[in-house]
Symmetry: C2
Subunit: 438 residues, 2 copies
């Protein structure tokens, strides 16, 4: 073996970043692997547009089979994203005995079991550090460095677009979600169709992958509670600030023995919480292991450089494994398939946490008593009530912070409160992660 040849399928942002690193850091990569790492071929449907990285035109092809069928190529980097043709390419790479590196969280979250099984059967490896939190080596840390721990709690900011929007709303009190989204789109931090990000789907894909590593539980995204950030109003941001909270879109994993909470939604966090300071497009993962205690990982969760850094990190690890002769040795240790499931995911209705409730209600005597009466009937203990301003329409937003309550009770109570004729419009329910409210 004189070199490790890789083929790149997908010459978009991540693919260009991979090419850039392989060129720019060629010397250190060779030193750290022990052999040259050679990019032999790049496939994309568009081989004409300038990507800002110099590439020998002879490397380019529009036919992915020129990579998948090349016996010289031992590692295939899939960076096209989405379900098809990415999935077919990956499965064919496996059949041809090639190792695969990918950042494709959607594909792995939805079709992970099938893909990991195929890798296992073909005795090859699939590496996917870049699928979660971009350049932060969190998956490897969960699987290796922290492997001795039971993970009691993981709270994670995994979508840079949402965090950018929430940070901007927090720093410019009064600005609307729509206005910030428009700015994010202009700056390139949000897609033209932002729903994958702002509706929480992208972060939920990542949550599914993290949960498989922390608890050995594989779930389809649709069985997890997912709520995006569209419904957050400037008023909620202002109230959060008054309570010394920040609003973050959080992936939440909390262990209770054999049962685990796994949910994704906007969450109020105390300002002094380490994640409250993870702002802008940054990602952050806070975790608590039974042995290691608290940890925080912080860094850029998206973008060309950070994502490509993780992809090339996986390429290097895979190359090292090929050189050592261990790539794809079954069983693929470290994959969730080998982990014993810690049990089931808790039904959302069973969870117990604290809540922020915003209720638009008539400003007249007896209203507060009616609302709080319903809460009492549902065993909801109120920590504080704030009635913020008088509205010309005759209704005012009233905000409740609750002590620990059951989600089912909150949902039932809110449904009843919403039916009161003194209450207007839908209620806003936001969960709070604050041990002081317990």
């Amino acid at each position: 073996m004189r070199e490790i040849s890789i083929g790149l399928i997908g010459f978009g942002t991540v693919g260009s970043g991979v090419v850039k690193i392989l060129q720019q850091n060629k010397d250190i990569l060779e030193a750290r692997v022990g052999l040259p790492v050679r990019l032999k071929r790049i496939a994309d449907i568009d081989i004409v547009s300038d990507r800002g990285v110099p590439v020998d035109p002879a490397l380019l092809t529009t036919d992915a089979r020129e990579i998948l069928e090349d016996p010289d190529i031992s590692i295939v980097v899939e960076s096209i994203g989405g379900y098809e043709p990415a999935k077919s390419f990956i499965l064919e790479a496996f059949r041809n005995g090639k190792q695969v590196v990918t950042a494709n969280k959607a594909l792995l979250a939805e079709h992970g079991p099938e893909i990991f099984r195929a890798a296992h059967e073909a005795r090859v490896d699939i590496a996917f550090e870049a699928a979660v939190a971009g350049g932060i080596p969190i998956l490897r840390s969960l699987r290796e460095g922290l492997v001795a721990n039971r993970f009691e709690k993981v709270l994670a900011i995994l979508n840079g677009t949402c965090n950018f929007i929430l940070t901007a709303m927090s720093e410019n009190p009064g600005i609307s979600f729509d206005e910030v989204l428009r700015q994010a789109q202009e700056l390139g931090y949000a897609e033209a169709d932002p729903s994958l990000d702002v509706d929480g789907i992208d972060a939920a894909h990542k949550l599914v992958l993290v949960l498989s590593l922390t608890h050995g539980i594989r779930l389809p995204v649709k069985s997890i509670y997912v709520e995006g950030i569209r419904r957050i109003e400037p008023f909620d941001v202002i109230m959060a600030r008054e309570f010394a909270y920040k609003i973050k879109l959080l992936a939440v994993i909390i262990s209770h023995g054999d049962v685990v909470e796994a949910r994704l939604h906007p969450t109020m966090l105390p300002e002094h919480h380490p994640l409250a300071r993870v702002d802008g497009v940054f990602n952050g993962i806070y975790l608590r292991g039974d042995m290691v205690g608290e940890q925080l990982f912080y860094g850029r969760g998206a973008g060309m450089g950070p994502t490509a850094s993780a992809v090339v990190g996986d390429v290097i690890e895979t190359a090292r494994n090929i050189i050592r002769g261990e790539a794809g040795r079954v069983p693929p240790l470290g994959y969730p398939e080998n982990w014993k499931s810690a049990g089931r995911v808790m039904d959302m209705k069973e969870i117990v946490t604290s809540y922020y409730l915003r209720i638009q209600a008539m400003d007249r005597p007896g209203v507060l008593s009616k609302i709080s009466g319903i809460m009492a009937d549902h065993h909801i203990s109120i920590h504080s009530v704030v009635q913020k301003r008088r509205d010309s329409s005759g209704t005012v937003p009233v905000v409740f912070l609750t002590h620990l309550a059951r989600e089912a009770d909150i949902q039932d109570a809110c449904s009843k409160i919403g039916q009161l004729d003194v209450v207007e419009g839908p209620l806003m329910i936001m969960r709070i992660e604050d041990e002081n409210l317990a």
Copy 2:
């Protein structure tokens, strides 16, 4: 192979933590490895004292050879610390074909090349994640997850004792180093002989290991600039606060092409720097990679649980490698021996940074002009001067913050200033990591 047998040499704090994890998390470790991990033997000179973990007395021995010569044992955990007999035990384990896991930073920093060469020759592995930053998987992240990057900058808080002391001094303005040290000793956060910690030696050992991974440079500790925290006075802490700085004992690694700065000393950091919020016994590593940008790793850097978490993480990785049949396959990829050296470490006199200078001077006309004249002669540009209080003795502390200056110029100027008859006692020089002073 039906199980992985390990032997533990050293039943102190870390060793007890290892035993505790192997007992308490037996089920998840087996699931994550694929085979049972069995603690077969524990050697210590004291096998009588209660460690707070239940152990079958039949496992205990005072003779390390019962581990080193046991053909069943494939992984030896060395947790006695110090140079001897730890080194001899490790070398004998290698000769007997055993993999080694250790947290022994002093030994690896001082005798790393010899130990790694011996592992290489014996075709076994040595793992040492626990040697730096306790439970934070930073070494593995540098070597694997972030391996695609050139490391432009690493700033790290690597000694929990010093960070505890500096945090307490910052939170109780006016309290002396000696007083806080005494408290730390009472709380068990500092040793009876604290010099390994407070003089920066322990953190320097860790810096040497980090530098070998980030830059492939192996240096003895004595060739690195190391300054501890004993000379910091309450006045310095109060001044830091006025300038919106925090004082941290930092390991500093900064790349300049083929030359790299590597130094360890108290450093003033802006309060908004991510490391400024790493308080108490916590460790933190801030780094900037050319591709990945900024990252922060934060967690407990010492103590039974966090250190044992890292040790057992290495045990699990080693066990996986044994099962895959790849443990110790030469060359030991990922070890610094395989890395191309990025060049030489910069002479301390060559470094350029900003400085905090505290000068005890007579409070009379012309003094400031004399001092600042000497600075001007040495090309030192002053950012600000603060004369804080009048002292009954007739001298006052005068504080200068400088723009970027050469260390050699600062040392020369301070030496000249110290000789002025209007200046009393030694000057305090502290480096500042603040891009706004550039």
